[in-house]
Amino acid sequence: MSEPFDPARWRPAAFLPERDVRDPALIFAIAVLCFLACLTALGVIAGDRAAHGWSGQLKGEATVIVRARGGETPDAAAARAAETLAGVPGVSEARALEKEKAYDLIRPWLGDVTDLEDLPVPRLVAVSLDRKRPATATVLQEALKAQGVDAVVDDHQIWIKDIRRAAGVVRLSGASIFLLIALAAAAVVAFATRAGLAARRDVVQVLHLAGAEDNQIANLFELRFARVAAISGALGAIAAALTGALLRLIGGGAGITPALPIAWLDLLAVLPCPLLAAIVAVVAARLTARRLIQDL
């Protein structure tokens, strides 16, 4: 302590120690929870988009199963059905699938039958619907009936309902998990803030007795813990965004992306994390500081 001290150059030191030995552990714990919360948020967003995508795809399509009647060959019946359907309003395209496609579909049930030509295998017509004003199954059915085609229209309604239900479950459970993790993060921030304040009872006491307003004291701790929480929140958010970006990059094409389609913009959802963490810390610090001062 032999270094000369020049009062003229003195700057007030922070009332609270700049660093605390507990800080790294605290930052780690909050950061991990924020990371998990952000990741869940990304998962919920992606799951929601996936559900939308599936049902959108199904909505835009219908499958028509055509059975030949009278002397008509299956191929001719399918061609006639496709032609009829193409003329229905709300249909953008109707295409009879090659017979091999139909065979492929039924082969699992029939085994490797060499000569399928003899079997009255129904033909399929794939219908692409106008996405804005899709024709309903009933309209398609009516049109085919008018042309005397024996056909069954499947507009995938059953699947869409299932997917909607599945999407709802994904959304709800994702939101619940997100809420739980966010609450856990908030609780840790609050708990750590309380512990930090209790450990700094000496500072609280001295400031209080020297005539500091309760607000002055609470502000010190608010700032301190808001900073710690914001740093942790930012670390967790960055880690989650990087993970999301990684999934987006490696999941291109046939990877995870079709199941969980993450868009680059989704990554912005992690942005509020540091702010939210800081706000929780501020509230916790304020409440705890006031209680501690009252107990002095």
Binding site: M1, E3, F5, P7, A8, W10, R11, P12, A13, F15, P17, D202, V203, Q205, V206, L207, L209, A210, G211, A212, E213, D214, Q216, L296
Partner: protein
């Protein structure tokens, strides 16, 4: 100045800075540690509070520096009934009181300079306004060369003087000192005592709680003697110094 403080309680004409009327105090649901204390201290006076350990000296000071509330009776500070002060007025009243705590309560992570400057910062003064004063004060209490030192590196007497510097830095109207010579040798005790005398001469009302009978005997200051929570007449002293040892 040598009148009995109990008599002063019946003298409302004095410019009193502190008045206790029938004050009792207890911790939680415990027994009364102070009972039925009445006293009146004039502004600018200098008093000792004596009594054996556990008599209630520290508790009495706590009532004055607004760290505790009486369980009965009224405390009037700066002419105001403390019980009627608005919560927002309490910090302001505390800023008018300097305290040397029995356990000092220095902040170990702050330099001696920062510790001493703390009350000024809390009061909202600008560093540029008080920097020089703090340095001067620390030099005056003999810590001119230790301004950058952290309290754990200071000797007992240095810590004591730092606590005193912090207590007086904001020019308080009342200075309370709880056993300020408890951990220092006789020489240092006298130096510290002279510091209080000097401050008192500058107008500060001084109240020192101590069981250092020697120090009390050497001074001619009035004594409030506490015994098991009650104000009692001072018990007869041993052979008096006859004023020869007065400081």
């Amino acid at each position: 100045m040598s009148r009995n403080a109990n008599d002063a309680a019946e003298d409302p004409s004095a410019d009193e800075i502190l008045r206790f009327a029938g004050v009792s105090m207890r911790y939680g649901r415990g027994p009364d540690v102070l009972s039925d204390i009445s006293l009146s201290l004039p502004r600018g006076s200098f008093h000792f509070i004596t009594g054996p350990s556990g008599a209630g000296k520290s508790s009495l000071l706590k009532l004055i520096y607004l760290a505790a509330k009486p369980s009965a009776g009224t405390v009037r500070l700066f002419g105001e009934d403390v019980a009627r002060m608005a919560p927002g007025d309490l910090p302001r009243a505390r800023r008018r009181i300097g305290v040397v705590f029995q356990d000092l309560l220095l902040l170990d992570h702050l330099s001696a300079f920062d510790n001493a400057a703390l009350p000024l910062r809390i009061a909202g003064h600008k560093p540029s306004e008080y920097r020089g004063d703090v340095a001067e004060l620390l030099t005056w209490v003999g810590l001119g060369g230790r301004m950058n030192a952290l309290p754990p590196t200071l000797a007992g007497g240095e810590k004591q003087r730092l606590a005193i510097a912090r207590a007086v830095v904001n020019r308080p109207e009342i200075l309370l000192a709880d056993e300020p010579t408890g951990n220092v040798d006789h020489e240092m005790a006298l130096r510290i005592y002279r510091l209080f005398v000097e401050l008192n001469r500058l107008g500060t009302t001084v109240i020192i709680a101590t069981h250092d009978q020697d120090l009390v005997a050497r001074s001619s200051r009035p004594v409030l003697h506490l015994d098991r929570g009650q104000l009692k007449p001072l018990p007869p002293q041993g052979p008096q110094n006859g004023g020869a040892g007065r400081v």
